[in-house]
């Protein structure tokens, strides 16, 4: 291994990973908001709402993320909507993440005992109060493991946006390889950076899980 190559390329790779982190954070925040909303909508008794929200999760879980990204970046301009690579990336990643999150949230709510809804209703809680104060807080701990998995695969999936001109960690690695022709060093270091990020994530989620199990 050529350590001088690592020394020279590391700053650029680290800069790329900052973008990876930024994309991940955006995606997680937007995807979670979207996922919780759609997860609740999918439980609606209203057939139209149910249909539309199911159509969304069906499409975004049933097609490749790469295709979705291409559609937003290369396709939308043909419809008169130009998105910057960053915006196309965040849009595609968030919509995709939201679809998976929606299924996780929906499953979590369905796993809560019906008696909890009844007790809340008998005490006068309305739907929103019931969801926010009684039901969702009980799903958090159960949802932490699947959500953690989802976020970790999200982080890795951000590498796909390298194909729509976003310079993040994966793209930086490709660029460094193209200038140095040292695939072993470059991709090894890149792998280490991804591993570092996913490990931090995993550790964070297991701490969170412990924190949230106080009442069990």
């Amino acid at each position: 291994m050529d350590f001088s190559i690592i020394n020279r390329t590391l700053p650029i790779l680290l800069k790329g990973s900052l973008m990876t982190i930024e994309l991940t954070v955006f995606t997680i925040v937007l995807g979670s908001i979207l996922g919780i909303s759609v997860g609740l909508l999918k439980l609606s008794k209203n057939k139209v709402i149910y249909f539309i929200s199911s159509l969304y999760t069906w499409m975004f879980r049933g097609t490749p993320l790469l295709l979705q990204l291409f559609f937003f970046y290369y396709g939308l301009p043909n419809l008169g909507l130009n998105l910057s690579p960053m915006n196309a990336a965040i849009l595609g990643l968030s919509l995709n993440c939201g679809a998976y999150m929606a299924e996780i949230v929906r499953g979590g709510i369905l796993s809560i005992d019906k008696g909890q809804f009844e007790a809340a209703k008998a005490l006068g809680f309305n739907y929103i109060q019931t969801m926010l104060k009684i039901i969702l807080p009980q799903t958090y701990r159960r949802l932490i493991p699947p959500i953690g998995n989802q976020f970790i695969s999200m982080l890795k999936d951000t590498s796909l946006v390298s194909s729509i001109a976003m310079v993040e960690l994966m793209r930086s690695a490709q660029q460094m390889y193209a200038t140095t022709f040292k695939p072993i060093e470059i991709f090894f270091v890149t792998g280490c950076i991804y591993l570092l990020m996913t490990t931090v994530f995993t550790a964070f989620f297991s701490v969170l899980e412990k924190r949230l199990s106080i009442y069990e």
Partner: protein, 241 residues
């Protein structure tokens, strides 16, 4: 005036009649006990009073105000408390938080005031030393007493009990029944579904025997338990006692 009036309550679940033209009045301070075989519609009836289920036809009036509507999501009835067979405590909240939740969240009362009241209620049901415990750390009897305190915290006009001791180990039944008896003495209006016949006889002002969604007989406890008009009730009582 009657605190609760139920008029011609009817309900079906896929073609099987569960409530068949039920009429009931409950006066303020009265304790009405409902007994009857499994599947006779006792729970369904209670759940229709506080809108957990909707009636197919018929009306429920509380303090003269109609409370039941076709769409049973439309309104929650906050002056009717309910205690469930399975407690249904909120597992992510301590005993104190369980009791405080509805007044704070639903009625938007001040936290400090509710807290004081909640502590008093928990003390009243004998759980002063458990206020900061999560439900998972409580016995069944303790859970049910928290659930009673939780219902009381909303200052309901009436409390509905649906087999409050059926899920309890025998040695824990007494502590819950004692709390309910205490409430009866204080003049709380209650409708109690129970299989504890001794307890029913002790606290009831009036007893209703339900069968197949109908009221078979309604009378004071002395009559129902000692010389009911219907042979069917005698047989039922022989089996459960």
């Amino acid at each position: 005036m009657n605190l609760i009036e139920v008029k011609n309550a009817n309900k079906k679940y896929n073609n099987s009649v569960v409530l068949n033209d039920i009429n009931i009045d409950v006066k303020k301070g009265e304790v009405l006990v409902i007994i009857g075989p499994s599947g006779s519609g006792k729970s369904t009836f209670l759940r229709c009073i506080n809108n957990l289920e909707s009636l197919d036809c018929g009306d429920v009036y509380i303090n003269g105000e109609k409370v039941n509507f076709k769409n049973n999501n439309s309104k929650s009835v906050t002056n009717v408390g309910m205690v469930f067979q399975n407690f249904n405590l909120f597992p992510h909240m301590t005993a104190l938080q369980n009791v405080m939740a509805a007044p704070v969240i639903v009625k938007k009362e001040k936290k400090e005031e509710v807290k004081e009241r909640a502590i008093n209620l928990l003390e009243k049901v004998g759980l002063k030393d458990k206020i900061n415990c999560y439900p998972s750390k409580l016995s069944g009897g303790q859970k049910q007493r928290v659930a009673i305190a939780r219902a009381l915290a909303m200052n309901p006009d009436i409390i509905l009990f649906d087999e409050p001791t059926s899920a309890l180990d025998p040695e824990l039944v007494g502590e819950v029944l004692n709390v309910i008896k205490e409430l009866a003495k204080e003049g709380m209006t209650m409708i109690v579904v129970t299989h504890e016949m001794g307890f029913a006889r002790e606290i009831a002002d009036r007893v209703i025997f339900m069968e197949d969604g109908k009221i078979l007989e309604e009378d004071i406890p002395e009559i129902i338990f000692s010389r009911p008009k219907h042979l069917r009730i005698k047989q039922f009582l022989q089996k459960v006692i």
